[in-house]
Symmetry: C2
Subunit: 383 residues, 2 copies
């Protein structure tokens, strides 16, 4: 890691958090939603939304915050949060944020990887309200169809000890889409500090790392962001690259759209069930990047030889070509006869008929990113 | 099948074909490119381009052909091919056409499926020249951002015995894209009869079945095409639906964008190699839908435990976010020590980090569509 680490003190002004969050790292704060609670709500309550911070949490007085937009020539728009809300039309969109490291611990079981050991709930779903990025760019005199513009950069108010802010960028084709907003509300209330107060860019369908929190600067550019998190993190290498090998970051593209993902949240692994119950109740989530809706979720209790489709809960305002919210599922699966233990497996199919690999064997990567193999939950049967 | 079958005579006027094509059905004509020839050319020569016909081949005199565009209100544009060429700007794009049934024979080996037994070369790549569909629609007074327009329908001049033409539709978001063209040239010459002379709509990134040949009618609509091929074919069911089960076609969406695909073309399965040679030369292709470029192709000779990235040949004019042409690969793989036979496995990763499933176990479907599991070629080692 070539980002200077903030001293522990720098985190002393971090906000209070809900005690139910499963803390994976305290400084910077990184925590998952408890899996047993995640599927209780189609929109994850703000206080249970997973938290992925790279740096200390900025403490911004909303009335003092400014958002600037810079063009290639340097001309800027400079707005307060109040002006932003007044000046532009507001849009609300249900959209998932998922950490690129979600399910890393599961990939680590296949073969050791490096990074924060996220289990399977570094993902949450919220309804975001804000203004279209495209409207802001237009107001700054930017032609979003200008061939010279390739990327839109975002800078947060969170800084490392050298004063370098968190940053990321997205391709201009994505930036000008209907769905990309600069949000000020999360589930109907002001965005909480841990989630980017007062402004966060929401890039539906893309990985969390590009959805910059504490947003204070938007810059259109001919090239991708130079930030550490764009150039030397959040890129998934080939399984041929092992721990200790030189990491040639520029040989792999930055993660933007996420592939199709699915996980069971309940029951927990190694839950004991009574054979006499005959069935086990399960619940979980599925989601895919690029607005590709989930068209099917299937469950197997015989290692993938036979499958059953399960009932899905989806957002009614979104269609299969523009599905940025997640899909929740609940099902009753039959306990197979004559076994002392078995795996419940779940997997999903997205609108482009993309599917998930069976195991980590083809997707293992040294940093343990975007693990989306079939999710297996071992169950113990008591007679 | 509820499409009336043309009598054999209706095919007597079909064109001559190259004798090297591997014929899977003669009436209607369906044939693959020989795998040993497919990777010799980045752009597949027209006479070797795979052929997938549903009906007899129309015999159209170009000077008599008319293309019409119909709006919701019925207003039309009506053009000759000559007028179309003169009136609109021309664009050239490298783009793959792949049959949804490509690699069906391979899926059939996992478990019996229904359909034409395509091996792995019902796919080819060409450079297409034509006019933007969007320009044609604009000229017909159609606002491609009109909320009422959901689909653009295409009708071919090929008809079944009742006079019903082949038809398909694509979502308006796709139809208004830069990449969608009404083509009159294939690899720099007039499109041959088998490939849609004189006009074919090219929908880069989508399945072949929507890229209607012998195009004579474009219709904007509030709904998807009612055609047999849109509604009762080219939809992939769950593995839970078996042969003999009722097919509830409206429970699964029509295939549009293709998922990531990869196959080895050479050597052929069960090729005998000498251990003394130490290596085997392989070649193949990879491609993904939606313009998602191939970012990596990997090969394994130990069942997927270890992988090597291979060198890729790609079109220089296309970037990873807009890659509609395919990726070819060539590699020298090491013969593993001490084995009498082994599998060469190849798989690809696309720009959204989508990957392929290891086997057909999770994607098997009764019609054997879009099989994209890891491609395995068994090799026999002689000492
Ligand atoms: Mo992340
Ligand atoms: Mo096809």
């Amino acid at each position: 890691k070539d980002v200077p680490k903030p001293v522990a003190d720098a985190f002393s002004n971090d906000p209070e958090r809900h005690p139910a969050l499963l803390v994976r790292n305290s400084k910077p704060f990184n925590a998952e939603t408890p899996p047993s609670l995640l599927t209780d709500h189609f929109y994850t309550p703000n206080e249970l939304f997973f938290v992925r911070n790279h740096l200390p949490v900025p403490d911004i007085k909303t009335e003092n915050h400014r958002l600037t937009v810079e063009t290639i020539k340097g001309k800027t728009v400079d707005l307060s949060v109040e002006e932003l809300k007044k000046k532009y039309k507001s849009y609300t969109i249900g959209s998932v944020i998922q950490c690129a490291g979600n399910r890393r611990a599961d990939m680590n079981q296949y073969k050791k990887v490096q990074g924060l050991m996220w289990e399977g709930t570094a993902i949450s779903n919220a309804e975001w309200t804000g203004v279209r990025l495209r409207d802001l760019l237009a107001d700054a005199g930017i032609d979003v169809f200008d061939d010279k513009i390739k990327h839109v950069h975002f800078e947060g108010a969170d800084v490392d000890p050298t004063g370098t802010p968190y940053g990321a960028s997205i391709p201009i084709e994505k930036a000008r889409g209907d769905e990309v907003i600069v949000a000020y509300h999360m589930n109907g209330v002001d965005i909480p500090r841990d989630h980017g107060a007062p402004l966060r860019v929401i890039v539906p369908g893309n990985v969390g790392a590009r959805q910059v929190k504490w947003l204070r600067k938007i810059i259109v550019s001919e090239k991708e962001s130079d930030s550490h998190w764009q150039q030397k993190d959040y890129r998934a290498f080939s399984p041929a690259v092992n721990i200790g090998d030189e990491l040639k970051w520029n040989t792999v593209p930055s993660i933007q759209e996420y592939p199709v993902q699915c996980a069971i949240c309940s029951p927990a692994p190694n839950t004991k069930v009574d054979r006499g119950d005959e069935t086990v109740d399960i619940s979980g989530y599925a989601w895919s990047g690029g607005g590709r809706g989930i068209i099917r979720i299937e469950v197997s209790v015989d290692g993938g030889e036979t499958w059953n489709s399960v009932e899905m809960e989806q957002e009614e305002k979104q269609d299969q070509e523009h599905m940025y919210a997640w899909t929740l599922f609940k099902a009753e699966v039959k306990i197979p006869p004559g076994v002392k233990e078995f795996n419940i497996i779940a997997k999903a199919v997205d609108r482009a008929y993309n599917t998930q690999p069976e195991t980590a064997s083809g997707i293992w990567n040294v940093r343990g990113l975007i693990h989306n193999a079939w999710h297996r939950v071992p169950i113990i049967v008591k007679d």
